[in-house]
């Protein structure tokens, strides 16, 4: 199974000038194929710098990144091929749309991979289906779609390269609640159907709690926490100290416990909270 492995990764911007700034320092971690990872951290914690190393957009100042057993910075061909294997969706990806039609814009990535017409067509339709872009929109200009639709077309443009790892930087930023839910559902479907690794960068704790099976918390260019949502959300004080929040459900559970309500198990989703409260009611402790 291909896995993504990061070894002692350090990146310093403008090295050797007065503006020198180390964004990430000595990061080592392994992400096995198929994992759904939530990447958390406040603005400037280095998470954006980190994800740009995973598809060789940025080259490490020191350290190595391996995918499927290969050094992704080995040579310029490796750096080119990795772009199709590790798909990166930037924040506000709708600002990168440029083609005349939705179809052509989604086809941009596969075209750069030099696939056959037929293969490109297949992938465009597949990617559009994954994010819920109807084929009737294919001949429209991407610039005249609604915000949510644009966002989905842009995500389809990356999915169409069939990456084994899909990284999304704040995919729900600026969308209404319905749009958020839809995009997150699309991402979950995509992962279930293709078995891809998904790395979701977010500072929305509720999204992270609902989606991810592993959370990595960045703070000042270091990995502050790395574990299952239970493990990470069981340390709310540390999260708050870093400048992050806990999910609403975890905050409510914490408040109830402080008031003497005995809730069982770890709680960080609404479902768990509901079950725990009902359980406590049955046991007669509240």
């Amino acid at each position: 199974m291909p896995e993504l492995r990061v070894e002692a990764l350090t990146h310093t911007y403008s090295a050797g000038t007065p503006f020198q700034k180390t964004a990430i320092e000595n990061i080592t971690l392994t992400i096995p194929q198929g994992q759904m990872v939530g990447l958390l951290g406040h603005t400037g914690s280095g998470k954006s710098t980190f994800i740009q190393h995973l598809n060789a957009l940025l080259q490490p100042t020191s350290g190595k990144v391996w995918y499927d057993g290969k050094d992704i910075n080995a040579d310029k061909f490796a750096r080119r091929d990795i772009k199709g294997q590790v798909g990166l969706v930037f924040q506000y990806p709708e600002y990168q749309l440029f083609e005349e039609t939705v179809y052509k814009d989604i086809a941009f990535g596969p075209k750069n991979q030099r696939l056959s017409e037929q293969e490109i067509d297949e992938r465009v339709r597949e990617a559009a289906a994954f994010v819920g872009v109807e084929e009737s929109l294919f001949e429209r200009s991407p610039l005249e779609l609604s915000g949510g639709q644009k966002r989905r077309v842009a995500i389809a443009g990356v999915i169409a390269m069939r990456p084994g790892v899909l990284i999304l930087d704040e995919p729900t930023a600026g969308l209404d609640p319905a749009g958020c839910r839809q995009i997150l559902d699309n991402i979950r479907d995509y992962r279930e159907k293709t078995g891809s690794t998904v790395i979701l960068v977010s500072h929305n704790m509720d999204d992270a709690a609902r989606m991810a099976e592993r959370l990595i918390v960045f703070d000042h260019g270091h990995v502050a926490m790395d574990g299952s949502p239970e493990q990470v959300f069981s340390r709310p004080e540390e999260l708050v100290a870093i400048g992050l929040n806990v999910p609403h459900a975890a905050a409510i559970a914490m408040a109830l416990r402080q008031r003497g309500v005995r809730l069982e198990g770890s709680i960080y989703t609404h479902e768990q909270l509901k079950a725990a409260i009902l359980g406590a009611k049955e046991a007669g402790v509240c």
Partner: protein
């Protein structure tokens, strides 16, 4: 990579040069350029160089920063120097060569002239914030309003353009990364291919520039902006003692260069 471009960069500071009124500095720059083109002899070049170095010292501008700004001009400087070396008549340095003593002298003077010219303009932009600069320009050009020149609008456009250069550079960087992540290739291929490869950057960049312009217009209108008529300023520009002193020194400097030229020195 795009961030390395220095475009009339401003170095904040609190020196005498920084404190001068922007109008004074603009006028003095014109005086300086006129003086520079009046200089013909080594004496006058020495005087102009001395004044430049003095102004640099007073404004705490490091030579390193000037050299960084000169780099893009290197080609023109070298070309001018070479042309002057080879195309000036006079006494050859070695019998039968084209290179003459006069040619060498002229090309050194030409190099000096270009370097001093650029250094002078850098002194202005390094010590004056873009806003102060356009405000000063507006005040200086305001007599032209009487004959219908839209001075306020022109200077407003200038300051906006300056304001948005860093924003657009950052935006270009972002769009480039996003397209690279989709496998776009900007570095290889023939010239035509590379020009075509710019399309995925230019289209989103234009779209976003128009969006920003729209947003800015709405923001200005919702704050009741309606042109320059009757507009007052928070920071009133007033000429101080040092400004008058600077004008006097500028006049003496220009006179000295003209006198030197007159006496053929």
């Amino acid at each position: 990579m795009l961030k390395d471009i220095t475009l009339g960069q401003f170095f904040p500071g609190d020196t005498i040069v920084h404190r001068l009124d922007p109008r004074t500095k603009i006028v003095l720059l014109i005086v300086y350029i006129v003086a520079l083109f009046q200089a013909v002899s080594w004496w006058s070049y020495a005087l102009v160089t001395l004044v430049t170095v003095l102004a640099m010292t007073l404004g705490h501008i490091k030579p390193k920063n000037i050299f960084k700004g000169l780099k893009p001009m290197l080609f023109i400087i070298v070309l001018t120097a070479l042309l002057n070396i080879f195309y000036t008549q006079g006494t050859p340095i070695v019998e039968g060569w084209i290179i003459t003593w006069e040619g060498i002298g002229r090309s050194v003077q030409m190099i000096l002239r270009i370097v001093l010219l650029i250094t002078g303009t850098f002194l202005l932009t390094y010590t004056t914030s873009p806003i102060a600069l356009t405000d000063g320009l507006e005040k200086l050009l305001s007599p032209l309003k009487r004959i219908g020149v839209p001075v306020h609008e022109m200077t407003l456009m200038m300051s906006m353009a300056l304001r948005f250069i860093p924003t657009l550079i950052e935006e270009t960087d972002k769009i480039m990364s996003a397209q690279k992540a989709r496998g776009a290739d900007f570095e290889t291929g023939s010239l035509v291919q590379r020009a075509k490869a710019l399309l995925p950057i230019l289209v989103p960049l234009f779209v976003s520039a128009f969006r920003r312009a729209d947003e800015l217009a709405v923001a200005m209108e919702s704050r009741c902006y309606h042109g320059g008529d009757g507009r007052t300023r928070m920071k009133q520009m007033k000429l101080q003692g040092i400004d008058y002193a600077a004008f006097a020194l500028g006049a003496v400097f220009l006179a000295a260069v003209i006198v030197l030229r007159h006496f053929g020195l």
